[in-house]
Structure formats: structure tokens, C-alpha cells
Subunit: 315 residues, 3 copies
């Protein structure tokens, strides 16, 4: 697809640029063969350094682009990105290369490994497991029955994933029309799970829109946990059952999330923070500590609040 064709598709007018575009990416990560976008003014300062060949953005921001980068002007850039994302999404199957299977790896007969995938040594890939195209699995990995790994994911060494968990399903992202319909933002990123991570049963980890959702080294995740697209879960963190992370939230190392706790999206949680069971986080946490409640507060304050409420109840 050429830049010219993209301009026409998005109704941004004729630009006559016949360069072939290979993909979409963020302002920060786009290469000169990719197209990028500005749909959230928080990222405006990244315009100046982008290496993208073209950027979808509102007219009022076009003057901020570096020389040579083409402006694809749209007053609804997020919708334009959604519309375009469909053209760059990768198919479920895209390789004719038989999967590479390491020595000592056992694959049950009802597991399905797509072409282009690669599995390391001494793994156990149990019945009903699915491993998507171009995924890379390390050594000594156990995928229990019916685990699903979508395409392009990367799983480190000694990772264990329990039954029914889904790694790399599409993030939940849509642009909305004025009449209330939802246009899918195709998710072109992946999930990267580092060494020594263990994931419980029926947990879901969504792939990134662009780039990667990360589960870092040594982290342990319980059953029925939700991790949204583009999250980063720091090293040696703990997520207890039924907790959830909305998209693009970053946990520092050794964060503990209690059962049924959750965070909003686009937050950053300081390393060594503990979030009590049921806590709900709506703002970033910069100071490590123990937090409770919804709205969230320091656990000490939450206890004080409960004591005050108990008095009100008696009054």
C-alpha cells in the first residue's frame, strides 16, 4: 500500500507519494517504512523526533512535523488509525516454514503449532494447546492443556502456563462513530513473557496494539486475571486471582496486587507497592506503600476510615 493510496483511503487527499508502507507504529517506534499518528495530545512532543514516513494528525498539529514527514490530515485521527489498521493486520497463518521443535520437547497429538513458530528444548506442550505463527517459545516451558498463544508472542525459559490461559488475544480497542458504532483497532503487537514467569488457569493477557505487552522475569500470576494491551508487569510481581489491569498500565518490580483488585489504564505503579484485595487504582502511584479501597488510599487511612464509618453507624 502506497502513501498515496493510504491518503485516498482515509480521505486525506492526494499526496502522490508512491513509497510502499509496511506497517503502522507509534511516533516513537515507527521506522521510515511505517506510518504513525497523533490521536492523544500527550504524545505531541514525540512528533519532532519521529522517523515515520507520514503521520495522521489534525491540521492544527501538522506544522510540528519534522521536515520530510508527510502529514495525513484528519480531524478524527483515532478513527483513521482504526480504519487503516485493518489493512496492516497479519493473517492467522503467514508462513510455510514448518515449526522448529527443540530436542526433548514433547508435543501432544492434539496440540496445534502453526508454521513459522519455534519451540525450544525440553518443553511440554500438552493436549489442545495452540501456538500461533511466528511465536517463539523458550526452553523447559510447560503449557498445560488448552493454553492458547496467539501469533508473534515470545515466551522465555522455564515459563509455566496453566490450562485455559490465553496469551496474545486482541486488546480491547475501538474507535467510535458519531452514530455510536465501534470500529476495531486491529492489534498488531504481541506479548513478551520473560523467564521464570508462572501464569495460572483461565487468565488472559492481551497483545499490544503496537509493540509489546510485557510480563517480566519471575512474575507470578494467579487464575482468572486480566492483563490489558500494552501493559508492563515488572519483575517478580504478584497478581492474585481475579485482579485486572486495564490497557497501557505499568507495574514496577515486586508489585503485589491482591485478589479482585484492579487498575485503570495508562497508570504507573511504583515498585514494591502492595495493593490490597479489592483495591481500585485510578491514579498513578509514585510512592511505594500499602494501599486499599476504592477510591484508593493508604491502607492506614483506609483502616481509619472504616473506624470512622463504624462510629457513624453506631450514632
Amino acid at each position: 500500500m502506497t502513501l498515496h493510496e493510504i491518503g485516498q483511503l482515509l480521505g486525506c487527499g492526494e499526496n502522490g507519494d508512491m513509497r510502499e508502507i509496511h506497517g503502522m507504529n507509534t511516533l516513537r517506534d515507527a521506522s521510515s517504512k511505517e506510518i504513525s499518528f497523533l490521536s492523544d495530545s500527550r504524545y505531541e512532543k514525540e512528533l519532532i523526533n519521529t522517523k515515520a514516513s507520514a503521520v495522521i494528525l489534525p491540521a492544527s498539529k501538522a506544522h510540528l512535523l519534522p521536515e520530510g514527514v508527510i502529514a495525513l490530515v484528519s480531524e478524527e485521527p483515532y478513527m483513521a488509525v482504526a480504519v487503516l489498521s485493518k489493512y496492516f493486520t497479519k493473517p492467522i497463518q503467514s508462513s510455510t516454514k514448518a515449526p522448529i521443535i527443540g530436542e526433548g520437547t514433547q508435543i501432544y497429538p492434539t496440540a496445534h503449532v502453526e508454521n513459522g513458530a519455534s519451540i525450544g528444548k525440553n518443553c511440554t506442550i500438552m493436549s489442545g494447546v495452540y501456538i500461533g505463527a511466528e511465536s517463539v517459545i523458550g526452553d523447559d516451558v510447560i503449557l498445560y492443556p488448552n493454553v492458547v498463544v496467539y501469533r508473534d508472542c515470545v515466551i522465555g525459559n522455564r515459563v509455566v502456563v496453566h490450562s485455559g490461559s490465553v496469551i496474545g488475544s486482541d486488546g480491547f480497542g475501538y474507535a467510535h462513530t458519531k452514530t455510536g458504532e465501534h470500529v476495531k483497532l486491529y492489534q498488531n503487537g504481541n506479548v513478551v513473557i520473560e523467564d521464570d514467569v508462572e501464569i495460572g488457569a483461565n487468565t488472559t493477557v492481551d497483545c499490544a496494539v503496537f509493540g509489546s505487552t510485557f510480563i517480566k522475569r519471575g512474575t507470578k500470576i494467579d487464575n482468572l486475571v486480566q492483563i490489558g494491551h500494552n501493559c508492563v508487569v515488572g519483575e517478580h510481581s504478584i497478581m492474585v486471582s481475579q485482579s485486572g489491569l486495564a490497557g497501557s498500565t505499568t507495574l514496577g518490580r515486586n508489585v503485589v496486587m491482591g485478589g479482585q483488585s484492579a487498575t485503570a489504564g495508562h497508570l504507573s505503579i511504583a515498585p514494591f507497592t502492595t495493593l490490597a484485595a479489592r483495591s481500585g487504582v485510578t491514579k498513578s502511584i509514585t510512592q511505594k506503600g500499602v494501599y486499599s479501597g476504592f477510591p484508593l488510599m493508604e491502607h492506614k487511612l483506609w483502616l481509619k476510615m472504616q473506624a470512622k464509618l463504624a462510629k457513624i453507624l453506631e450514632s
Copy 2:
């Protein structure tokens, strides 16, 4: 099973009516070959118009039946329905007709499609998927690995269901004996998913007791969401991860349910309502707006409440 036999089974006495009964249904939807029931006085006004051949109901309501409709008198009608439901439940396999598969549809070798099912054109039915008897799948549908569709379900065109989600599992319904045992109400309905719906990973949508659970056109549902039996999710609604709907609740069009929010059963939520993350709905909502908290209140009031509580904490 004749009406006479049903009367005997339920201990309602001899009625001598040898008509063959083919099923059970609600007062509103029962045909003259079906039996119905009154177990909840809210539905009393539907007695007068029922076309059922017979109705299970308490003695005190028998006089409300239209002429020609037989009363099967029971002081525990819900228990009688549960006992009887077992006799009308459909078996897992019930057809010898090979499934119909549309042109251009790819079915992975470990997928299992029951006899009597029908799949449209250009679908992708991935590994480990199960499609139950008499289910009807539209065109251009993607069922990711290990999706399960129980029998009799209907899935529209361009629907996408991510890995591990379960469509049409039994609703959670039991009658309770006086000694505390639970008697299963067999779920004889289905799930209908309309066009352009997308459902995330490891989500569950229960089938209806009678009739259908509906997910209407264009609705998008995230991971780990629960939708109870007989719910109706309106067009272009959004349900974020870990949210839940108890049985028989209806969402209007373009309702947004935030993460971990939930509703009780038998409610009706006005179109264009937004329920904030973690909100819990226990009464029907007739006015669109943004609501928060548990108990639920307008979001503006919830913010005011939090400000008041913060002051109490400081005092």
C-alpha cells in the same frame, strides 16, 4: 409425554388428557403443544393470553386461566418446572445430518462440529473449537482456538470470538428443596449473537432457560465477562473486562459497562447509559447518564460522596 403423564409425574393428580406435549415455555411464548408455568406473580397478567396446553401454578391462580387450558396445580411450581425440565432437555447429539460447511470456510483438524450444525462461508474455525448440534454460524466468522458453542446457538456474520470463550453453557438455575438441596432447571434455550459482535477471551455467555440470550448487533465484549441466561445486550454496547450481568437483565443500545462492574438480575438499563468501573446495579435505570458506586448513584453524586468522606476522614 402426555399431559396425563406429566400430571402424574408432578403429583398434580390424574387429568386423563392424552395430548402429547413437545416442550416447555414461558406463558407468553408457549404453543398449544407446550406446557407453561406461573412461579413468579409478576407474570400473572400473562395467564389470560397464554396459548399453552397446560400451566403449572398454585391452586389460588387456577381460576385466571383461559378456558381450555389445563391447570396443573402445584404449591411449588418452580420445583415442578425444574423436575419436569429434565424430561424435555435436548441431548448433546440429536442429528444424523452431517454439518453443512460453506465455501471458503477453513476448519482446523482438531475442531469438532456436531451433526446438524451449519457454518457459513469464509469462516475460520480454529483448533479445539466445538460447535454444538443445530447451531448456525454465519459468514466471515472467526472462532479462535478452543472456543465452545453449545447446541442450538445462532451466530451472525462477521462475528469474532476469542480463545476460550464459551457460548451457550447452561444458565445457573435451580429450585431448592426444603432440606436445602438444589434441583437443576434444565436450560432449553439458546444464545443468539447478531452481526459484527466481537467477544474477548475466556468470556462466558449462558443460554436461556427458554427462548434466547441475545447479544445484539455491533456489541463488543472484553475478556472474562459473564453474561447470565436470558440477558439481552443491546446494539453497540461495550462490556469491559471482568464485568457481569446476572440473569434476565436487559441492556439498551450503546450501554457501556466499565471493568468489574455488574448488575443484579431482572433489571433494565436505559440506552446510552454508562456504568463506571466497579459500579454495581441493583435497580433498573430508566434515565440515561453516568453512574458509579455500589450502591449505585449518579457519578456526580458519587464524586460528592467521596469528597464528604474525605472530610470525615480528616475530622
Copy 3:
């Protein structure tokens, strides 16, 4: 592995005892061929009666051991147990005995039954189901598509498990190093599900560390429920969707847990207790009743509290 080797492995010094040890267990349940431990002073009183050959415990408690029981002294006994648990964990496959399948049982071709498992009469084991080594399934059981039963589990008669549910996945247990890494406590127990239990879709029931997680007779569990390791769910209990039990909690008979409710670990809930939707239990409940809220209180008090809060809001 001899006691001598274990002592060396754990850095407890040389004990020269060449007895072969076959496993690990709790103080109460350990046999003379097993090793036990004291990592929680609540169990101190069980030292005197233990039949274990040796006990891992702090120096200060060693004098409490019965004569003949060897002390393996460790100031971090829980970490020592975690380190040792790896050596006693059972492999995924451990039998060459073909599974025993009862008369009238139907097993779909893509189901996988490990050697050493046994399935009773008239069961339906659907597509994608996995049944682990040495598991024992009763008569008239239905396992819907993609249910997973880990090794050593026991499932009674007339049990129904809906699609995607996972029985016997590893409990969430780790010892923590001083530098914040997590050392897995291998889970060597199982899950026992008694007769007439029904479990919904995508629910998870973890196996016990030692001994069994129990779901007792007649209990009904909805979709997306979490049951932690070593829990006991009493007879005829009800757990509604998205509720959760942390590890080692015991529900008495006929407990009802509403949607999204949860308990902390190591609690005991009185028979016939009802926990309202969203309630969160952090202390044991000794008096049956209806409870709500988080922190939990009697439902009557919770209603009063909401009335008081409403007044504050108006003020």
C-alpha cells in the same frame, strides 16, 4: 531421597539417617515415610502428635518434637519446604497402565485421557477434554468440551462440569527470598469433587498443596469462579459467578456466595450463611446470617449504613 540427603539439601546439617522419604505432608497427615514442617505457629500444637519421620522447623521449636522425630532446623522453614517440594512433585505422566473406561462411556476423539486414569460408566467426555494421570471419574459424569482435570483428582457420580473449567491446577503458593524472588511451592495434593456437583464454564479449582481441595455433595458453582488450594466447599453450597475463595477457606453446608463476592484465606464460614453480591469476607463467620459489604457486616447494618451515608450526602 534419604533424610540425610534432605538435610544436606536444605543446609540443615548432617543427620546420617538413611531412611528413604517418600513425600511431604502436614504435621497431622504425615506418615512415618514422610517429612513435615512447622512454618506457622498456629500449628505448633500438632507437633506433639505428628507421625512424620522428620520435621523442618526453627531451632526454638525443636524441643517440642516427639521422641524419635528428627528435627531439620531451619530459620526459614517455609522456604525450605518450597525448595524441597520440587523433589517430591509428581510428573505429568507416571503410569503405563492404559486408562480404564466404564461401559456406556463416550469419549470424543480429541479428548486426551492419560494413562492410569479411570472413568466410570455412562459418562460423556467431550472434545478437547483432558483427564490427568491417576484421576478417578465416577459414573454418569458429563465433562463439556475443553474441561481440564489435572492428575490425581477424584470426581464423583453425576457431576457436570461446563466448558473451559479447570480442576486441579496448581495452587498459588510461593516462598519469597530476601531479594524479592518467588520460589514455587509445588502442589502435591488434589481436588475431590463429590456426587451431584455442577460447575459452570471457565471456573478454576486449584489442587491442594498437601491433601485435598473439596467440593462437597450437591454444591452448584457458576461461571468464572475461583476456588483456591485446600478450600472446602460444604454440601449444597451455591457460588454465583465471579465469586472467589482464597486458599484454605472452609464453607459450611448451604452457604450462598453472591456474584463477585470473595473471602480471604484460612477462614471458616458457618453453615447456612448467605454472603450478598460483592461482599468481602476477611474474618471467619461463626453465626449464620445474611452479610454484605466490604468490610463485611450484617446485611441489616449494611442497609442502615447506606441510609446514613445517603443522609451525609444530602447534608
